[in-house]
Symmetry: none
Subunit: 137 residues, 4 copies
């Protein structure tokens, strides 16, 4: 499910974090589901257990997953999104970078919006478009 690009400049542990969050969003992994153990995952993606562990820790810090001692790690079943000021600023900065970059690639606003639309749909439109059912999970 998770594809690691070892040549990428984004750290492996970050790719794992992103990958898992994306899979949850897509519904491939459901709230309450058990994630592969650290060792399993590490052999699945041929990475070091420590690297996987770091990714899991980060996800746990974000309350996306939670670990039950001796049993494994599970997708949080009552994830509550919280909009921190600071996190919002970072998001805006990231969006700005994309807008600038898109401009230099010759994309107009409409093109970008269309692109974002496609990506939304690839991540399972039912979850994102009209209603926000994160809390219902």
């Amino acid at each position: 499910m998770i594809i690691i690009d070892s040549r990428s400049s984004t750290p492996i542990y970050q790719q794992i974090v992103d990958g898992i969050k994306e899979n949850i969003l897509k519904g491939i992994i459901q709230p309450g589901d058990r994630l592969p153990s650290v060792r399993e995952m590490s052999s699945m993606i041929t990475a070091n257990p420590n690297t996987v562990s770091r990714a899991y820790s980060e996800l746990e810090r974000q309350k996306v997953i939670e670990t039950i001692r001796g049993k494994g790690t599970y997708v949080t079943s009552n994830y509550k999104p919280k909009v921190e000021e600071e996190r919002m600023e970072i998001l805006k900065e990231d969006i700005k970078k994309i807008v600038v970059e898109a401009h230099y690639m010759g994309l107009k606003k409409d093109d970008l919006v269309k692109l974002m639309d496609e990506i939304f749909n690839n991540l399972d439109g039912t979850q994102l478009t009209s209603t926000n059912n994160i809390e219902k999970k």
Copy 2:
């Protein structure tokens, strides 16, 4: 014009690149304009000349600026956006990350589109909204 955050995790040279591109986009710097010399710039933002140099090299590689030997560096006046396959993939990946992240912050599609809209306007709407006049510059 360019604000460097030395505490940020994005490299300083990258911040310079981003900053200059943004300033051009905003019209603060015009095509044909001369950029501060490496030394000037480095003292303006209190950074190492090597760092500024690297930023300029990167911008030159992207054909956003060009250096005329003995005269200085200038904003390219006939910048031609080209949509490389690879660059497009990176852009899409970046957008996906933003969409995922926004989801975990509780933002719906509409919220994100609205946010992008705001940012567009902050970067001077006349250049981006309806017509793509990059090539006309």
Copy 3:
């Protein structure tokens, strides 16, 4: 009575120890009372019997409870608090951590004292405030 949070980082056996001590302190369980058997308790809180067993052993070591062979485990009726040097040092360390942490949360001394006061009252003020009647029990 005892609530176990399997997601917490404090071991389950420790949570049991803490929970029982708290219940005794609150008067919910009285000196001389019989505790649920290991099996009963383990099914009550859906934990492994070994885990409960470990908790009981720890409480016995602290002379808070005692087991009578063939009859069950009972809350010690003549608990004698003893102030070991070492235990005192640990307590001080723990308090220090709390003070430091409170500081970084912006709490002043008064705030912290007030907070401690509230918590004292939640644990049944009659037992703790003015006289120390532990030994009289």
Copy 4:
């Protein structure tokens, strides 16, 4: 400055985190001061650089310190305490544990308050008692 107890059950990286926060609180390290580099610190306390690195990362996440690329790590000069709901709950839990523990050591409320008072003073009373000048640093 920082004393590591390798026999303690609290992780080394956590001891480093606690130690640094305490030193800042005591005024031994001032806002704006540079911390020993990861390698320096690791040799000072004879621990692995990775362990120190983890401690620094945690402190940075808490915004107690910040790293400037290629220059080192510095104590944040404008630390802003924020009282999150969840963090408050944890603090209360910790205080409860201490109150319970103190009870079983035969300490009365007054004893505990007195103890806390001493500890406050050891951490430099000028910073904590009457006014909260965290933000002024």
